[in-house]
């Protein structure tokens, strides 16, 4: 193996090894644990930066490890994989900083950070997977490593949420496994190829392929929270804020959505999938989920629950872009992977800050929060406007490309869904902003912590401000080199729609 072949392994190891060491650390070893966390996150980021540069100049980064005869564990850093890996690595660093501040003084921190690192390892594995079996392996590891994080608080509610999370995701994994095995018996390969590998099969296999497609999408749809497989997500918001942020913006939900992209483009191939007639149902399902999630969010008073339903809605933009197909919609869907991550993690960080600093958990308790925590609410405002799709924030760029894609493929009605979604997003985000900025604060907050002259701890404040700025810059400088949009266009050009 040359050096380039080692780098994907090193990226996996950069979070796996610190995670394993952290498991063995005593609770009191705060400094060492923090150092290991940050060292892992920074080294992963550096390695990813190296690969980004290399992939841009068409270098290959691929690791192959034989597991069984005919089956290899493949890690490959293509443009699509790197988009997700970069998102995970950047947000992992910020979430780690946030989690250090958030969990200060609480118990079981070694367990938390150990699983936290494993979770990111699994996510990066999902992103770098070069074939369906590797993907499946890391996908299941992700389920197992996030479960302890969901039930971290150890309350009855948390355990119930964890139980439903486990039922859903494991059952989804079973469907995915069934689909994968069936596919392997038909094709004899599971290697991801830019335009898919099932197109080699003749038309007589079409019914079986449709069934396999349904199994794979159902299996992935559980994590991507497609309705009606989304039930676990609003429950899982009982987890601590950094976990919620990770689940909604980086790891679980995104792994499902990313898997859908992989299956459509690199297993079936977009033209072949369209020929099978499976894309239109995916579009309908995504549109239904977008509207359903937004309507449900509208009537939630619990802030994190409202954000959870918002995730249900927003993640389906990715499935929508995939389903519409065509270069514009693909770019819109793929770039939303990053944009939604940046905006949603900001919102969850802010929700965590409000809960941790003021004891505010409900929208109805947020009156005057902007005066008490201006920077937190500035970050929240930017992310909320981005979710609505207001320019120049990142969400607008996603919606623009999805809209263009819909018009280009003659599916004009999808534009109405996007417009309806924007209106609904405005309806559930703007009242929050109005309360926070323009209503008088209460005489006493539900459970206020004293941070002196600061609005909250630096570790809690910096991550949301940074992610909000990233969301703003991702939209404002969308055409700048190495922006998420430019990278998504590179993916579409180089992998999915290469001439």
């Amino acid at each position: 193996m040359n050096w380039n072949a080692w780098i994907p392994l090193l990226v996996i190891a950069s979070s796996l090894l610190p995670g394993l060491i952290i498991f063995g650390l005593d609770e009191e070893r705060l400094r060492l644990r923090t150092s290991l966390n940050l060292l892992g996150a920074v080294s992963k980021l550096a390695l990813v930066g190296l690969m980004l540069w290399g992939v841009y100049y068409e270098q290959q980064y691929e690791t192959r490890l034989a597991v069984l005869p005919g089956l290899e564990l493949v890690l490959r850093a293509g443009p699509l994989a790197l988009l997700f890996v970069t998102l995970s690595s950047v947000l992992w660093l910020l979430t780690t900083v946030y989690a250090i501040g958030y969990l200060e003084g609480s118990s079981h921190r070694s367990r938390f950070f150990g699983f936290f690192s494993l979770c990111v390892t699994s996510t990066v594995g999902v992103a770098l997977a070069g074939n369906l079996i590797t993907f499946l392996l890391f996908y299941e590891l992700l389920t197992l490593s996030t479960y302890p994080l969901v039930v971290h608080r150890g309350t009855d509610v948390a355990r119930r949420a964890g139980q439903s999370y486990l039922i859903y995701t494991l059952a989804g994994g079973v469907l995915l496994l069934l689909g994968t095995a069936w596919l392997y018996t038909l094709t004899g390969t599971l290697e991801f190829v830019p335009r898919g590998f099932v197109a080699q099969l003749g038309p007589e296999y079409a019914p079986a392929l449709i069934a396999i497609f349904a199994l794979l999408i159902a299996g992935l749809g559980v994590k991507a929270a497609l309705v009606p497989l989304h039930g676990w997500l609003p429950q899982a918001m009982v987890a601590p804020a950094p976990v919620s942020a990770l689940l909604h913006a980086v790891a679980v939900v995104k792994a499902g959505a990313f898997g859908i992209v992989r299956v459509v483009y690199e297993v079936f191939g977009v033209e072949f999938a369209a020929g099978l007639g499976v894309m239109q149902p995916l579009v309908w399902l995504a549109c239904f989920t977008i509207i359903y999630g937004s309507i449900r969010a509208l009537f939630q008073d619990d802030l994190k629950r409202r954000l959870a339903y918002s995730t249900v809605s927003q993640v389906s933009y990715i499935a929508l872009g995939v389903g519409i197909a065509g270069p514009f919609a693909t770019v819109g869907g793929v770039v939303h992977l990053v944009h939604q991550g940046l905006m949603k993690i900001t919102l969850f960080f802010c929700a965590g800050n409000l809960a941790e600093t003021l004891g505010v958990h409900k929208v109805s308790e947020m009156n005057g929060a902007g005066r008490r925590m201006p920077w937190t609410m500035v970050a929240f405002t930017i992310a909320a406007f981005g979710m609505i799709g207001a320019p120049p924030i990142a969400g607008f760029i996603s919606k623009w490309y999805l809209g263009l894609g819909a018009l280009n493929t003659g599916q004009d009605w999808v534009v109405l869904v996007l417009a309806g979604s924007s209106l609904l997003n405005a309806a559930y985000f703007l009242p929050i902003l109005h309360r926070a900025w323009f209503r008088d604060p209460p005489a006493e907050w539900p459970h206020e912590h004293d941070f002196g002259s600061k609005e909250t701890a630096w570790a809690l404040l910096l991550p949301p401000v940074i992610t909000a700025l990233l969301a703003l810059f991702a939209g404002l400088f969308a055409s700048a080199p190495f922006s998420a949009l430019q990278w998504a266009q590179l993916i579409a050009r180089r992998e999915f729609y290469a001439p």
Binding site: G370, L430, F477
Partner: protein, 572 residues
């Protein structure tokens, strides 16, 4: 060339300067400096309007942004910077209060957005600037402690969201057809579009909200009536820069002929006039009236659009004249909106009050005669008669506002008007009350008619038309006021607001009806009733279904069903 290059480089600084001032204001040690700089934040923009054309390409910004200063932009920049100068000077006193940082930041963001609107050279940058301006102004409105202002701000926010969604659709349609988002390409795509009427519909509805077009105008009276004085010129800037300029930037005037749309717009202009006369003259509080003047003024642009869509060749001559009309009407409108300011400030000096009163009359007159140039340019066309009618209506409403005297502090304008009996008792219908307005309108019309004859030699027909319109307007006003005062209750600010409330009531009613019919009605009604009647317990069907999804058996059944579905598909 070097000169043009330096102009190009100045373009972004004009937009960024208010943001820099906002940053200075935020720094505790530099706050006094920020306060001192705020009134000057619009000065670079004003200076730029005197410089020659320039363009700056910003390839990394959004989808390839362009900033430009062209002939149209220069006129709007001049107007907008004047209006913002007025706003920021007026706002200085309020900003000194330590608690007004949010207000100051919102105001400066809105200012930056306004300049961005004028200097944007592509659709997306324009849209982004419009969003920043609109929501920042809403934020500034919401900073008011007055509950009515906050309510009015909410109406504006809702309409802005709807407007932005519609504009997004227009931009998407044109952008998809053009393959680019610069204004020239978008206009070209509009010209070649097969769905011109759809694009026109979306465009007019989207930008119409910001202009205050009839039907979607109902934010204007309550917002202007309740907004603090310092915000009113800025709101006028919003109307012109985010509304009118948007239409001008996207519509290929002079290249496109759409007689059906032109006819609709012309009738809409007349409907606007009738509406503003009836409703505007029925207002019994001064501060609500200028809102109707603004709505009436909007019909000027509807007439211009209509004329150009009917005869594209007219655009060149109208564009030339429109510059002066634009500046005069914008400045006049802002002055009209500030009419109640001297009264509120409690000016004691008699001579100063007299001077201010004279200025108010001048403002109304200036506003009233602002479309004159367009009348000349459209000589012999039916549109000129419509424009003269607009002028008459503006003067009538303006004079009506001036004669209303001071705002009555005992009334609660945002709530509901007093009953007809109370109005009749306090302000009986008197011809002496309305006559000066009518006389002023007639004098204005006579001056116009004279000017019209002097320049065009078409006195006979025009004067006949004007006479009829003036008489009709007078009769309409007198009768309208008489009728309106006998109506049981008039809504706050505008008659369309209770319609929206009515719709809400209908929605609640329908929801309740359905809730009775079906026990498992959605949780929407429950959420709406939560605050009103906490004891209400309705089963939340969506929540109920989701709770089913959380238990083992239904979840597994669902997945099993999926498996069966897959097997069935495989068997096909």
């Amino acid at each position: 060339m070097t000169y043009a290059l330096s102009v190009s480089l100045i373009l972004p600084s004009v937009v960024l300067w208010p943001l820099v001032v906002a940053g200075i204001l935020l720094l505790p040690g530099l706050r006094p400096a920020g306060l001192a700089l705020t009134p000057l934040a619009a000065l670079p923009a004003l200076a730029l309007s005197a410089l020659p054309n320039g363009e700056l390409s910003l390839p990394g910004v959004m989808l390839g942004g362009i900033l430009m200063l062209d002939a149209t932009g220069r006129i709007f920049l001049f107007l907008v910077s004047i209006l913002w100068l007025a706003s920021s000077v007026l706002a200085r006193a309020r900003m000194r209060a330590a608690s007004c940082d949010t207000f100051a930041i919102m105001l400066l963001f809105a200012m930056a957005g306004s300049f961005g609107l004028v200097l944007a050279g592509d659709g997306l940058l324009f849209f982004a600037a419009a969003t920043i301006t609109g929501y920042s102004l809403c934020g500034a409105l919401a900073c008011a402690t007055d509950r009515q202002a906050t309510k009015a701000g909410k109406v504006l926010v809702v309409l802005l969201v709807v407007s932005d969604v519609l504009i997004f659709e227009v931009l998407l349609m044109l952008g998809q057809a053009a393959g680019s988002v610069d204004f020239e390409s978008l206009q070209q795509a509009f010209s070649n579009s097969e769905n011109k009427n759809v694009v026109f519909g979306l465009l007019l509805a989207g930008f119409g909200i910001k202009i205050g077009m009839l039907g979607v105008h109902f934010w204007i009276p309550p917002v202007f009536a309740t907004a603090n004085a310092e915000l009113r010129p800025a709101l006028v800037a919003l109307i012109f820069a985010a509304g009118l300029l948007g239409v001008l930037r996207l519509t290929p005037l002079g290249q496109i002929r759409a007689p059906e749309v032109a006819a609709v717009l012309h009738w809409l202009a007349w409907a606007t006039l009738l509406y503003t006369v009836f409703v505007g003259m029925s207002q019994n509080q001064r501060r609500f009236i200028p809102g109707y003047v603004a709505i009436a003024l909007g019909s000027v642009w509807l007439v211009v659009l209509s004329a150009c869509l009917q005869q594209p060749g007219r655009w060149d001559s109208l564009a030339h004249v429109s510059a002066a009309v634009l500046i005069q009407s914008g400045a006049g409108l802002a002055a009209t909106f500030l009419m109640d300011k001297p009264n509120n400030e409690g000016v004691s000096s008699y001579s100063f009050r007299s001077l201010l009163a004279a200025l108010q009359w001048v403002a109304v007159l200036l506003l009233g005669i602002s479309p004159l140039g367009l009348v000349w340019a459209m000589a012999g066309h039916v549109s000129s008669i419509t424009l003269l009618s607009v002028m008459a209506v503006i003067v009538l409403l303006g004079v009506h506002a001036l004669l209303q005297g001071d705002n009555d502090p005992e009334k609660k304008p945002g709530e509901r008007y007093a009953s007809s009996a109370a109005i009749s008792a306090s302000r009986p219908v008197e011809f002496s009350h309305i006559a000066p307005g009518v006389v002023a309108a007639l004098i204005t019309v006579a001056i116009l008619a004279a000017a019209y004859q002097l320049y065009q030699g078409m006195m006979t027909e025009a004067a006949r038309g004007l006479g009829i319109i003036a008489l009709a307007a007078m009769a309409a006003v007198l009768n309208a006021r008489w009728c309106v005062l006998r109506l049981p209750v008039l809504p706050a600010g505008d008659v369309l607001l209770p319609i929206t409330r009515g719709l809400l009531l209908v929605r609640v009613g329908v929801g309740r009806l359905l809730a009775r019919c079906a026990a498992y009605w959605a949780d929407i009604t429950q959420a709406m009733d939560r605050r009103r009647r906490p004891e209400t317990k309705r089963i939340d069907i969506a929540g109920y279904l989701e709770s089913l999804l959380l238990s083992w058996s239904p979840a597994l059944s669902l997945l099993l069903l999926l498996g069966l579905l897959a097997a069935w598909l495989a068997a096909l």
